[in-house]
């Protein structure tokens, strides 16, 4: 495999696939022409939708008008009655239209009274300004009078009041704009009537009876959040469309062209072949996504639709930059799905027959996102396709939250990896065996041969199955409001099932060597004098004790570091206090058993057993430990319904330390001991009050004293040294893995 991943060979394989795809006119058609054709049409459709959403205004018989006090309310009511009476007198008013924000910009025309000139009926609501602002924003209010000044002028023929009125309305909202224009007509009518009266009597300067200014506030249309959901759906469907043709061409197409047999007869690993095809499909999908995103941005920005849907800032560049990575992640995921399906197909036609139902199925989650009342909850974060769609919708409507976003991104990446592994196993299998069904059954059946270690592909598939289950399980306690010891026991039971029992069962089914994979036997020791063995294990325990004496400091300082970056858990202070008091109620032995011993055993079986062994089947010890630790860190970030980002770094460091111990000793047990000791120490620390800590560390700082840290570094170095020396004999065994 390595000779295909080195010397730029993999890149050259990718280049071939890219050339094939990008030189094909059909790919280019989808890439370039589709956005050009689709978006103007989409823009028109959306315009109609927005207008349609507001067209119910026609049925409105009464508009809601807000004022701050009763006096203003009374004056406005009088004014509207006067306007109505003026109209009823049959006064033919010249109509003056004033644009909303600029009173100087006037377009005066005369016209007879038309039915549309009628003054609509208004209901006057009184409340404080904040409530009125909110009501206007929510659409419960159609027009808000923000200022009403009345100045009286004494003239020879009497006192004429001059009104100065200011109002706010929702711009791009037909209902609000109709309410505004009706009100404007009322004021204009009174003005004109007053002017006409003066002209009949004395030709002298007349007072301006009404000065009316209105400011539009940019608010989304009623259905904007659901209409905004159309945009990610369209973007995602277009991204799929871009990826479909290359996916078929590079897989089923190989078979139709007669190149498949020659291809799979080469010594190149199937995964390398499929990876190069995957890179090409993802590239085309991402290019399509970019073209579509750009076209969307242009359409929304220059068509004025952006502001109607997303408020004042419209479809901003920031929004664009947030949506793009999501589309890339989605492209990675869906390209893998397409390749898996197309790898299974024997011809273009067959591939198309498989893909059409998938495309139609993907419309289902799309329609869910169009429902305005469907919230993107934490658990929906793990539902493939729907999660990215809902996250995109929430980003566009400015409502995204961190936990489901993390779940959506992380789960989609894992699903993509697992699907790619399945695709690589299906790719070409049909050409080698006599029928498609055999390739599927081989994928699912129990292997005939025993394997020493799981491979990385199996790990990806297991992770894709584990993550959603783990995510749901980690929310169980919160859903049933379990508290105290029961919650901790439930958590421990979940850990045992997911991280120990299921990997063991899976490995047994796949005939993976359990002792070797889970490091249950060191592989050395047979024939070794018992005293040597005892001495070696004393060394392991001493090394582990020294390491654990230092690692809690790393966890503590890393937490402080994250806290200083404001990245620590998003729990409020009250929640933290409540959790801590809940936690202090639980007997300490329960905490140690469920928080230190149980995770140490279960997680070590999975991470330093299954995961590390899977990475070791292909990678060097250092890289295997590093990747295992990254996964270890990511799984610890999920803590029920919140993200504990502060756990990420210390868990990675702990993972690296335990990984080192596992690789050096070739056994799982010293790692279990280190993990349990570390967790136990951290939990013990949390039992102490801040006063206790201040007494030890000093009043002026929350940090661990430098002398302690120096001791920690020394302890860690000594521990690593002792482990290194004690495990010299194990290395030949580890290397053979």
């Amino acid at each position: 495999m390595n000779e295909y991943l080195s010397n730029g060979r993999l890149w050259r394989l990718c280049q071939k696939e890219l050339r094939e795809s990008l030189r094909d006119r059909r790919t280019l058609f989808t890439l370039v022409l589709m956005p050009i054709l689709v978006y103007p049409l989409l823009s028109m459709a959306l315009q109609r939708l927005v207008i349609g959403a507001n067209s119910k205004t026609k049925e409105v018989t009464e508009y809601v008008l807000g004022v701050e006090d009763e006096e203003a309310g009374g004056k406005i009511r009088e004014l509207l009655i006067e306007a109505q009476q003026t109209l009823e007198r049959g006064f033919a008013s010249p109509i003056t239209v004033t644009r909303s924000n600029d009173p100087t910009e006037k377009d005066t025309t005369s016209s007879p009274v038309k039915p549309s000139d009628e003054i609509p009926s208004y209901k006057i609501e009184m409340a404080d300004r904040a409530t009125l602002d909110q009501a206007l924003s929510d659409g419960r209010l159609d027009l808000l009078i923000t200022k009403l000044n009345i100045e009286t002028t004494k003239l020879e023929r009497g006192v004429f009041p001059a009104y100065t009125i200011q109002a706010e309305f929702r711009q791009n909202d037909l209902r609000s704009e109709t309410a505004l224009s009706g009100f404007r007509r009322a004021t204009q009518l009174i003005n004109d009537y007053q002017a006409a009266l003066f002209r009949k009597q004395i030709d002298r300067k007349i007072p301006v009876a009404m000065t009316f200014n209105a400011t539009g506030i940019f608010e989304k249309a009623d259905l904007s959040s659901s209409i905004a959901g159309v945009i990610p759906l369209v973007l995602i469907l277009m991204t799929i469309t871009g990826a479909v043709y290359p996916a078929i061409d590079l897989t089923a197409g190989e078979r139709e062209r007669g190149t498949m047999e020659a291809l799979i007869a080469t010594p190149a690993p199937r995964f390398a072949l499929l990876l190069s095809k995957y890179v090409a499909v993802v590239t085309v999908a991402v290019l399509t996504a970019l073209a579509n995103l750009f076209a969307t941005w242009m359409t929304l920005s220059f068509g004025g639709l952006g502001q109607a849907l997303f408020g004042k800032s419209g479809f901003s560049v920031l929004m664009l930059l947030q949506i793009l990575p999501l589309l890339v992640i989605f492209a990675c995921f869906f390209s893998a799905i397409l390749l898996a399906l197309c790898s299974f197909a024997r011809s273009f036609k067959e591939a198309q027959a498989y893909l059409i139902p998938v495309m139609l199925l993907s419309l289902g989650p799309g329609l869910v996102t169009l429902m305005p009342n469907v919230q993107f909850t934490t658990l929906l974060g793990i539902v493939p396709l729907l999660n990215i769609l809902m996250l995109s919708r929430d980003i566009m409507t400015g409502q995204s939250s961190l936990v489901p976003a993390f779940a959506a991104v992380f789960s989609t990446i894992i699903y993509a990896c697992a699907t790619l592994v399945v695709a690589s196993r299906l790719f070409g299998a049909e050409a080698a065996t006599s029928g498609s069904q055999e390739s599927w059954s081989e994928l699912l059946s129990r292997p005939k041969k025993k394997q020493m270690l799981p491979d990385i592909g199996e790990l990806a598939i297991y992770l894709a199955l584990l993550f959603p289950v783990f995510f749901v399980a980690s929310n169980l306690g919160g859903m049933f409001e379990w508290k105290g010891s029961w919650a901790l026991f439930l958590n421990a039971a979940i850990l045992f099932v997911l991280f120990m029992l299921l990997p063991l069962l899976y490995s047994w089914y796949r005939r993976i060597d359990l002792a070797n994979t889970f490091r249950l036997s060191e592989g050395v020791g047979r024939g070794e004098p018992i005293w040597n063995r005892i001495a070696r294990w004393i060394g392991y325990v001493a090394g582990v004790l020294l390491l654990s004496a230092a690692l809690w400091m790393v966890a503590f300082e890393a937490y402080l570091l994250f806290e200083s970056w404001s990245l620590a858990s998003q729990l409020s202070e009250e929640d933290k206090e409540r959790l801590k008091s809940d936690f202090l109620v639980v007997p300490f032995w329960v905490v140690l058993l469920t928080g230190a011993v149980a995770p140490a055993i279960a997680e070590e079986f999975f991470f330093r057993g299954f995961v590390l062994s899977a990475f070791r089947s292909k990678l060097t010890a250092f890289r295997s430990v590093l990747f295992t630790s990254l996964l270890f860190g990511l799984f610890h970030v999920i803590a029920g319904s919140v993200l504990s980002i502060e756990k990420f770094l210390p868990t990675i460091i702990l993972g690296m330390a335990i990984g080192y111990v596992a690789v050096r000793t070739g056994s799982l047990f010293p790692g279990i001991l280190l993990h349990a000791l570390h967790n136990g120490l951290v939990f013990s620390m949390s039992r102490f009050t801040e006063q206790d800590l201040a007494r030890w560390f000093g009043e002026e700082t929350k940090h661990i004293p430098v002398v302690w840290l120096c001791g920690g570094v020394l302890s860690m170095a000594l521990g690593a040294g002792v482990l290194f020396l004690s495990s010299q004999r194990n290395q030949s065994h580890e290397d053979s893995n």
Partner: protein, 265 residues
């Protein structure tokens, strides 16, 4: 030298076991052309797929240059070149791009691949269209590209699976010349075909395969002596219809329609 030892493969078709290849053993030396002959469904392609490591034999193994397929199927594949009936080309790639792509798939060093490309361009007369896209090539040109593709990694063993099926006289002649070339270069050539007349012209030794069993193995002279027949077609029909003798290996002898064995089939 390639050696197949006791190769057996059974498929389950609609719940019924079908032995595709039954304890098949043969050896082919360097510079020798071995014809693996038999009607459709005899087990030729299954045998080739087991040699290529695409199918895992139920029992037995293949050994090339001391490397056994059971241990190192990747190393075995590096020593094999395959020319097949349905070989196609990549329409959007140029001939040069396609040949270098296959060199990469066989992990050939890029500098060496460039040298070999030049050599094959001269040998198979590709120079005039080497930078043209494959979609623009004639059938004959595509065939030459396919032959060059099989030699880009200079394998010691060439597997030719029904290489002349669907080709006209000119195309078939090109294949025969190619086989001569391989022979001159000391390659092991394993030719799988049901066109016995062609096999007679180019093969040094033959293995007659029917229903997964090797019915007979030897040179043309040995076959003539054993059967008293002049041509492979007659010999094969005689073998299949014979109630006794070598054909007794066949569990349920059937008459093979002559058109399946005829040169025009």
């Amino acid at each position: 030298m390639i050696s197949a030892e006791n190769l057996t493969k059974q498929f389950i078709v609609r719940g019924v076991p079908l032995v595709a290849v039954n304890h098949l053993s043969f050896q082919v030396a360097s510079g020798e052309v071995y014809g693996l002959l038999g009607p459709n469904g005899a087990g030729k392609t299954t045998t080739l797929r087991m040699i290529m490591g695409l199918l895992e034999p139920d029992s037995g193994y293949v050994e090339i240059g001391g490397v056994r397929s059971t241990n190192k199927s990747t190393d075995i594949r590096k020593q094999l070149g395959l020319i097949s009936t349905n070989d196609g080309v990549y329409p959007w790639l140029t001939v040069r791009e396609m040949l270098l792509y296959f060199a990469d798939l066989y992990a050939v060093d890029p500098l060496l691949a460039a040298e070999r490309l030049e050599e094959l361009a001269n040998l198979l007369d590709l120079r005039n269209f080497i930078d043209q896209r494959c979609s623009t090539l004639s059938t004959g040109q595509k065939q030459r590209v396919t032959l060059a593709r099989g030699l880009m990694h200079d394998p010691p063993v060439m597997l030719l699976d029904e290489p002349t099926r669907g080709l006209d006289v000119v195309g078939s002649q090109a294949i025969f010349r190619f086989i001569d070339l391989l022979k001159q270069r000391g390659k092991v050539v394993l030719l799988s075909t049901h066109r016995l007349d062609e096999a007679e012209r180019v093969c040094d030794r033959f293995g007659l395969l029917h229903r997964g069993n090797l019915q007979f193995e030897g040179t043309l002279d040995e076959l003539r002596q054993a059967t008293g027949k002049q041509h492979l077609v007659d010999m094969f029909i005689a073998f299949l219809n014979a109630p006794q003798g070598n054909a007794t290996q066949i569990s349920s002898p059937v008459n093979i329609p002559p058109n399946e064995l005829s040169p025009q089939a």
